[in-house]
Symmetry: C2
Subunit: 401 residues, 2 copies
């Protein structure tokens, strides 16, 4: 094979504003109509607050035909074919903040400030639509169902079973649990059990952070002054918050008890992985200095970094620095993603950005990072995709100096 099987482990899809109405249970449609107006106002306020309206408008202008791949099957196939991407993992949220599922059930999924019944309803409306989208090209699409699990674990278990039945083999759960139980708590065991049983991959997708702390309130109050530095703090902390659940899962013994459980951290960069693993392993071994804190390791048979290697993957755009760190991250743990259709994603410069990052990476490692790891992890059928790859995949020789 002289072309790369490319799987984007980070893509987004969502309906245009208003589109989710038909996918909602009828009793929530009145609330939807009210929330829609608010959501559009919040998006507009956000853009104005940060003076980025122009940038976002520029990004959308001229790209309308391709960006509507956020919800349109044909456009999406055309764009992904053009990018050489044979398979994709499909998260919610479309063109920036324009295509989020209702009731806070999108990428920023968090119980904070949300209504339990409505957030579940919003999640289900997206999941129903997503199942239809995946069904149009099931061999190319791994759909990520939204599961606001912190509200109710039994409900989450039911949603996982429903999703698997509809062809969705992945879920995302909240990065931020607010006042709910953190992920080392035993209340979540039924969720880990069903995901292990049905081979459903659990995702934490970057986006949420401790934003109320940075901005004074979240979303920013249109009338209030945003403290200087808020956005710099956000971009500096956001990767910590998305990786934070791992600390709770690893120490909580979740991967000890559910050794086949799969967890992915998506769009949270991978630069943090080496120092994170060094820290956790150091904490697990240099226990003597902490003797006064009691025993906190005997329930784990592996080192934290060993659980990471076995149970965790990270999906990023693979910036040059991440490619450089690939051995410390784990070549088998790193999955490339384009982030289409977000403006910070690689599209429409996927080819050059891929080359910038992977030009010094030996071919077998590039094969793993660009698609092999994701194919194994999500169970894409490489054989079925082979004819497509032969047609659209980037030529391997383009990645050799």
């Amino acid at each position: 094979m002289d072309r790369h099987l490319v799987i984007s482990a980070d893509c987004h899809a969502g309906l245009p504003p208003g589109g989710y109405r038909d996918y909602l249970d009828p009793q929530h449609r009145d609330a939807f109509d009210v929330a829609l107006t608010q959501q559009l106002a919040i998006t507009r306020d956000f853009e104005e607050h940060f003076l980025v309206k122009e940038i976002n408008d520029d990004w959308r202008r001229g790209n309308e035909k391709d960006l509507c791949g956020a919800w349109d099957h044909d456009a999406r196939i055309r764009v992904l074919d053009g990018d050489g991407i044979a398979g994709e993992v499909v998260f919610p949220d479309g063109i920036t903040e324009m295509n989020a599922p209702p009731f806070g059930a999108g990428i920023g999924l968090s119980p904070r400030g949300a209504n339990r019944e409505l957030q579940w309803a919003g999640a289900r409306s997206h999941n129903r639509w997503l199942a239809e989208l995946v069904e149009m090209a099931p061999e190319r699409r791994e759909g990520v169902a939204i599961v606001p699990a912190t509200w109710d674990v039994e409900e989450a278990v039911r949603e996982v079973r429903w999703a698997r039945g509809k062809g969705l083999g992945s879920i995302m759960i909240p990065v931020i649990w607010g006042d709910h139980a953190p992920y080392h708590h035993s209340v979540y065991r039924p969720l880990w059990a069903v995901c292990e049983e049905l081979e459903v991959v659990i995702h934490f997708h970057s986006g949420p952070a401790d934003s109320e702390q940075y901005f004074g309130s979240w979303p920013p109050d249109p009338g209030s002054e945003i403290p200087r530095g808020a956005m710099g703090i956000y971009v500096s902390e956001v990767a910590w918050w998305v990786a934070r659940p791992l600390t709770f899962l690893i120490w909580g013994g979740v991967f000890e008890d559910f050794p086949k459980l799969k967890v992915a951290i998506t769009e949270g960069t991978a630069n943090w992985v080496p120092s994170y693993l060094e820290l956790l392993d150091q904490r697990a071994t240099a226990h003597a200095g902490n003797a006064k804190l009691g025993d906190y390791t005997s329930h784990l048979s592996l080192m934290p970094s060993e659980y990471f290697a076995r149970n965790i993957r990270v999906a990023t755009m693979v910036a040059p620095r991440e490619a450089e760190l690939r051995h410390e991250i784990g070549v088998g743990n790193l999955m490339w993603g384009s982030d289409y259709p977000h403006p910070e994603g690689t599209w429409p410069n996927t080819d050059s950005r891929m080359r910038d990052s992977l030009l010094d990476v030996p071919e077998p490692e590039a094969v793993a990072i660009l698609g092999g790891n994701a194919a194994d992890w999500y169970g894409f059928d490489a054989g079925k995709l082979a004819p497509l790859v032969a047609r659209i995949g980037p030529e391997k020789r383009r990645f050799a100096r």
Copy 2:
């Protein structure tokens, strides 16, 4: 000079339980009597919860005479002389949790669950006693006054002026601000201004973290089951929480506006520094990928790592790995500390632990790390200490292979 000037940038002192009563304003003594009983019960519950009573008892047994240096001047001088330590920076808290100032005004300083008036009163009782302790050997002791600044910045400014007047040139403020304003908020400007003006060093000392999240409640409820993994999560996150204020200060432009402000992170390890600086600098430069987030850098004239190099120091026991990373941390930014009289500290094995870490460090760098950096930062008078160093300082040739 053939001996090292050693300054421990992390030591602790505190009165025995009950001792703070006489230093409290009289109107708070009834509350103190009640709180004392509770505090002793909490300490006992904590030890029993984590099955470490035996370890702590072992540590104290046989060491009573030396550990009472936590509050006794003569014993303290004897122990520090024995360790070769000429100067020290004195934080609250003594032998583990046994000598904390009242009303949560110790190392765990946080507004969470505390009473404003009482916490200020507890802080002042310690500061008054500490000023007496420092006065007994002012050339050897830099006292760290407790300033629970998040409650009231004007009050904090007054306390800083009082402390400086009493010979205390350092303060510690809360690592965790709870529901109060984070440190990028303009409300703190008068505090940064007075500390810059009076050359008072601001400290964040390791200890507090998001403990309610790990343990279910903090302190752990004696009746409740602690979730498995809680302590592992604590030891993995605690260094992040103590360094977190830097992210708010740097992006908030505090070091831009107060270029001579001095901040130290104490006992929070230094392993995190290289990846932390890489992250912040990356965020400050790779802004194009985040164009949709607006301008968040133009108020800063330096790179985050440049503010770090100029305005920030880290004090640790300098484990071998930290010594190895010294150039990435900044040789001039690293200050050695013994953590006496904590059981995880270097005493009574200071000599061998120092050698383990510094044997491969060239002498001029060891000079800086063991005492030179702290002498400059805190303004210790090396000349005045020279005769003492000639008598008690560790011989430099012992640190050469």
